[in-house]
């Protein structure tokens, strides 16, 4: 039994990371009812932007570039954590502008447009940063390993899981406890009402998509030191994000978090006892849960069902 404990801890951290991955995706689906297949590409884009910021790739060997690289890594890392998501948000907003003609049509069109956008972003990454594997250096303080119960755990993994918790809390606070959140949530339920109250719905959508994209970018930066970074890394992201929102129920914030933790636990525990089935366990979990509860764990009715 004691052998199981580290795997449960590991599964929980994994689950939090999955939640972080799915956060931006579930926000956009929940509020805008757009399945954003470019989520993975924005994830990658955020990481590449952070890479260029951290390594001073933007400035080359100019005087400023040299000065920038002489700053301590911790400072540059924090800066990259801000700049990466912001730039990803910019890219997300461009995609949202392209999405406008699809509003009011079947949700399929939004999905297709973002699929095309994903192809374009991935190819652009290839053109700008090359096809090779890249790595993102993190400050020494959060790197390395520590011992717990005689086993080695990664410090970074726990930092990342803690960060995921913060992000989940932050998004929840924003949606539930701020007036902006109230407007966004209202927009998802009744766009006519929001318009009638004098809010600009298109600006709202632009901001929500930008926010979702920045969360994707943030997840990219946090996950890169674990997964590595290559132009097609986004492919690894969309599927788990997809599974998680469906298991959790489309449009449900806590459903997604709960589903992510469940997926993390199932991957973590099968990873130890039936490793050959660890990837498959996600799909089996989906078929089992959605087979019983057709709207997922905490789902509510959504336009995407039509």
């Amino acid at each position: 039994m004691m052998e199981l404990v580290p795997h449960i801890i590991n599964g929980l951290t994994l689950g939090l990371l999955f939640a972080l991955i799915a956060l931006g995706f579930t926000l956009i689906v929940g509020v805008m009812e757009v399945i954003n297949l470019a989520h993975g590409s924005l994830f990658a884009l955020g990481a590449y932007f952070a890479l260029a910021t951290l390594g001073g790739g933007w400035f080359g060997s100019t005087e400023f570039g040299v000065w920038w690289l002489s700053l301590p890594i911790g400072m540059r890392y924090v800066f990259a954590l801000v700049v990466g998501p912001l730039l990803a948000a910019g890219a997300g907003m461009i995609i949202e502008l392209c999405l406008r003609p699809t509003y009011g049509k079947a949700p399929l069109y939004g999905l297709l447009l973002t699929f095309g956008a994903a192809l374009v972003v991935e190819e652009l990454i290839r053109l700008i940063w090359g096809t090779g594997e890249q790595s993102l250096t993190v400050p020494q303080a959060i790197n390395g390993a520590f011992l717990m119960g005689g086993l080695i755990f990664s410090k970074y993994k726990f930092f990342a899981a803690g960060f995921a918790l913060l992000a989940i809390g932050g998004v929840w606070f924003f949606l539930e406890r701020t007036p902006y959140g109230a407007i966004i949530k209202a927009g998802s339920h009744d766009s006519e009402m929001v318009r009638a109250l004098g809010y600009d719905l298109s600006k709202l959508r632009l901001l929500v998509f930008g926010f979702g994209a920045s969360l994707a970018g943030l997840a990219g930066i946090i996950l890169t030191p674990i997964w590595g970074l290559r132009p097609h890394v986004g492919l690894d992201v969309v599927i788990p994000a997809f599974l998680i929102i469906v298991i959790g129920g489309v449009g449900s914030f806590w459903g997604a978090v709960l589903a992510a933790v469940l997926v993390g636990l199932s991957v973590g525990i099968t990873g130890a006892y039936a490793p050959a089935w660890s990837m498959m366990s996600m799909y089996l979990l989906l078929i089992a849960i959605v087979g019983v509860r057709s709207r997922g764990l905490l789902g509510r009715k959504s336009a995407l069902e039509n």
Binding site: C98, F115, G116, L127, I239, F242, I287, V290
Partner: protein, 343 residues
Amino acid sequence: MISLSDIPARGGSPFTPAMGLFVALLLTAPFWLEPIGLYHYLGIEIAIWILFALGFNLLFGFIGLHSFGHGAYLGVGAYAFGLFQQEVTVSLWGGLAVAILAATLAGAIVGAFVSHRRGIYFALMTIAFGQVFWFGAIKLHSITGGEDGLLGIARPDLVVGPMRLDISDNISLYWFVAVILVLAVVALWRIVNAPFGRVLQAIRQNETRAQFVGYNVWLIKWLTFTLSAAFAGLAGGLFAMAQESAYPDVMSLHQSGLIVMMVLIGGGLVSFWGPVLGVLLYFIARDIIGGITETWLLWFGLMFVIMVMVRPEGVAGLIHVLRQKFAQTQQKTVAPASNPERA
């Protein structure tokens, strides 16, 4: 926006001008493919994908069930064809029959799980099942050959009565595939223009209403899913012959996504012939842009994004609108009110 129902259906005879053009192009292709700089193998592959796409559109366009895991049935057909050649006997008709049967069976089982779903949940369940098939093909490598593929699948002789024809070279295989495709297209055309086809569209437009009118919606959805898987199985069997092997990749989400993309870009939602146009556009664009630049996906992606923004009904929709406009300018009449938007 226009939809399938806005293009008037013809009853009875499938011998429409579009069908005539399609059959004429298909059957003359071996004579002009090479002079215009294409090659016969591409013709085979396009014909197979047209078959796959048309069968898929029964599900996707007509009944409006958005499957994102349809590559699985193509793969099942391909593996079934190959395993039959290698384990049982080398026979063309036997192999194709087994390919269709296996895919039908797989479709029937999955269909039973997903047919009471709609919209996003349907799509996601098909993805999950598609991944399970793909994963299984890699995992059961002692049967399927795993990522190396099931290799050395024969292109068996065509036996019709006392006749035995060798179809192992690309040109004769093309003829064979083309004839099968024509038969399948006529069959599909009859299906969608029969009362059954109207029911499919009724279900797409309003499932609840169709239910109240007295149709067994679940059964019809399940039947359509299974039928569409059967066509995918046939295409898969032919694909295994063309490639002389079967690979797990055709079952991946990526490939299943591509068929959706082709059907949509061609206008499968608005026309029976949409998938044909989409497959042609995709393969030819890929062959040409791919020969010019390595970043062909960038250009294809951009083209696709613009298409969804500007002309979401796809090529078929574009042709339809152009024809309407052409007719209008000839008659010098004022444009009629545009079709009501249908979400």
